[in-house]
Amino acid sequence: MLLNNHYDLAVIGAGPAGMAAAIEASRNNMKVLVLDDQPAAGGQVYRQIDRNYHKNEELFFLGEDYWLGKKLVDDFKHSSAEFFPESRVWQITLDKHVFFSRKGRAYQVQANFILISTGATERPMPIPGWTLPGVMSVGGAQTLLKSNNSGADGAVFAGSGPLFYLTIWQYLNAGFKVGAVIDTAPGRLSWSHYLWALPALLQLNLLLKGLRWKSHIRKNTKYFSEVRSVSISGQSAAKSVSFIDKYGEKKKLNTSHVFLHQGVVPNVNLTMATGLKHYWCPRQLCWHPETNIYGESSLEGIFVAGDGSGIAGASAAILAGKTAAKQIVQYSRKPSIFITWLSKLKRYKHVAARPFLDNLFRPPKEWRVPLEDETIVCRCEALKKTDISSAISLGVTGPNQLKSFCRAGMGRCQGRMCGLTIQQMIADNNNLPEKDIGYFRLRPPIRPLTLGELASLADDNVLAK
């Protein structure tokens, strides 16, 4: 198989935004390349939809929103875009070269435009015992459900957020027994919650769906709300979960599987490593790449669409991908103010409920920074909260400086698991807002890359089978 050296558009990530952009751009006769880590198109939300479709009777439990993705994936497959799954993009240079590995070899292509649609990633929930075997993220549990129809009976779910409820609902529908649901969302709503609820009514369907999931979960599981101080214990693997319920009572549940979740944040590793400007979003408590309504970033010709530019969900991502591609197709023409406002208006229908949801599920600090000194924060370097706070107290002003004091964030994950926690810890210690603390300076490779792959980087671009 031969890979071309040059494309009009290279799309990184074949989720809803990436697929929609590829369909739109190839409809307009652009030569499009799409690269994705996974073995099939769909992203996290429509994972393995193509393979699962023929057994949709058996997998009905994934819900109607999941099956909606089938048409998008079909359109994508029938488009003229070239798609290379199992391709890990590890560097984009400013001259728009894209470097990636596939099956043990590295390749490079150049493109006139690049669309980064690498989606979201789960916010880690560093509580005591979160690194024990048997503990994983709710997103991970959902992945197993979608890709293998596998799950664990008796698992305890702890956390909150839309994906939290959706996954438990799917778990129940799939026939797995849920051990308990420990809901960490704070119970009391403030006036701002109610204020944001008004525009959210524009997405009433979404809200009703959420309420349906939640009431189904309350009816069919052992459900604890407004929970505090969750910890997992066990010697070599998870054995039990302890917490304090809303009446202040200590509870302990035996389980060997715990699934944690505190919402999702944009996966900014590629956009940051490529050098795009980012800003701190206080409402979503994470970094967003700076883009205009068309998704164009601070670097000319590089676009970002979908949850990777701010959490907004699949339908907003599809629209964003399409909007970005339209703008790329007629790049030399500046859109009129009217078109810009129209685009904003169109998008609003898909994001009206977002501020409400963000406020409702905004994780309190307890779930972002561990309360206990002994809890691991940086998993790669096995650094506890106390190791990091004592390094910070030596006068550290930012995450990059912290690296040379205690190696936090210097392991394999490049700070994916500890970055936001460390940023918050430094902000607290120095009494400054998070946005002033900054983030780890991310550098390529942003995906796993072996030296053998790097050494194989050649210019013949013949793809290995």
Binding site: S404, L454, A455
Partner: protein, 374 residues
């Protein structure tokens, strides 16, 4: 701090290894010295380099300085205390992988012998194979220096900074020099943190040093900024007890105590020192890595964990600038062109000698600041 001026005997500009070592030796000899650093100690090339502590492969003009520096490295504990534990002496080996490399190496060995240097010698393949049992290919011989090694660079720089402080030096970080001018025989150093006055200024500002010199109306230095790159891998079984290079190729390779490989060797990416920006361009390293994987095939399985670079100042002849400037009371120590880390302690000592009007124990003739003046 208020905007009132501060009087100092000596101000050192730049908190890299050169500046920190200079401030340390001055303070140790009782001088009133203040070091000002625009970012933080060891933030740029000094803190993020490969940490090679080598006499091997030095330009013959640089060897006396390198040997003088090594004397200090070998007794580092006396100077900077526990930080010295981050220096790991072993041996440094530069192998020939082809006939061209062998010829080059043999010629160098002969030149060194003739000049009377005994630290760096030629060894044949049988010796190399015994010293590096995991090497997968025969070599065409190589050059070796016993006792060279590597250090954790930011720890060493921090060590000199702390030792300087202990001896009474003041260190001010986050302090950018806006201008350096002379008035009534005193240097006026304008910074956002106020005005500093000094009888003597030592310019160890690395990639930023030519800007400092320009502000002081000193020589115009043809200094260029680049970002030499490095990669570090995940932890692997220990197979490499030395720091390694390859003759006539750009490769430097070592394995840390953790088992992680660090690969570099002077492959440069772009840097823009005026906005503190350095690029990394991993693909540029691919030929160095191909070579490393030929020597040790296991390396191909290692995962790259990080690639990084630091901003470094390069001179056209790749030799540093060390010595008295055109202006009275201004000294320079910069332009190390990505091989200044090992020299640092020697440079600090020599600059301290110069500032105090003493004769350094080695000649600095080759590093004269005026050598680019037509």
């Amino acid at each position: 701090m208020t905007m009132s001026s501060q009087s100092n005997k000596v101000v050192v500009i730049g908190g890299g290894i050169q500046g920190c070592a200079t401030a340390f030796f001055l303070a140790k000899r009782g001088q009133n010295v203040t070091l000002i650093e625009k970012d933080r100690i060891g933030r740029h090339a000094s803190g993020v380099n490969a940490g090679g502590v080598r006499r091997l492969g030095r330009d013959i003009l640089e060897i006396p300085l390198s040997l003088a520096a090594m004397d200090i490295w070998q007794n580092l504990y006396q100077e900077i205390g526990e930080y010295a534990e981050d220096f790991h002496p072993c041996f440094y080996l530069k192998v020939a992988v082809d006939e061209a490399g062998r010829e080059l190496g043999l010629m160098r060995a002969a030149n060194l012998r003739e000049a009377g240097f005994k630290h760096e010698v030629w060894v044949e393949d049988d010796v190399i194979q015994t010293r590096l049992p995991h090497l997968s290919t025969p070599t065409h011989g190589g050059l070796i220096v016993e006792g060279d090694g590597w250090a954790t660079p930011w720890r060493i720089v921090q060590g000199f900074a702390n030792a300087a402080k202990k001896n009474g030096a003041k260190i001010i970080e986050g302090c950018y020099v806006n201008s350096l001018t002379q008035s009534q025989g005193l240097w006026q150093i304008q910074t956002p943190k106020g005005l500093y006055e000094a009888e003597t200024v030592v310019n160890c500002a690395g990639a930023w040093a030519a800007d400092i010199a320009r502000s002081a109306d000193d020589y115009i230095f043809p200094l260029e900024s680049f970002a030499p790159m490095l990669v570090v891998t995940d932890r692997r079984p220990k197979i490499l007890p030395a720091v390694m290079g390859v003759l006539s190729h750009t490769l430097s390779l070592k394995q840390l105590e953790t088992g992680q490989f660090v690969i570099g060797g002077g492959v440069r990416a772009k840097a823009n020192h005026s906005i503190n920006q350095s690029d990394v361009n991993l693909p540029k390293l691919s030929s160095s890595i191909r070579l490393a994987a030929k020597l040790f095939p296991e390396i191909a399985n290692a995962h790259v964990i990080r690639c990084w670079s630091g901003i470094e100042g390069y001179m056209p002849d790749e030799l540093p600038i060390i010595g008295r400037g055109r202006q009275n009371g201004l000294f320079h120590g910069f332009g190390f062109s990505a091989h200044g880390f090992q020299l640092g302690p020697g440079v600090g000592e020599a600059l301290a000698d110069l500032v105090m009007g003493q004769q350094p124990r080695i000649s600095l003739e080759a590093f004269r600041p005026d050598r680019f003046v037509n």
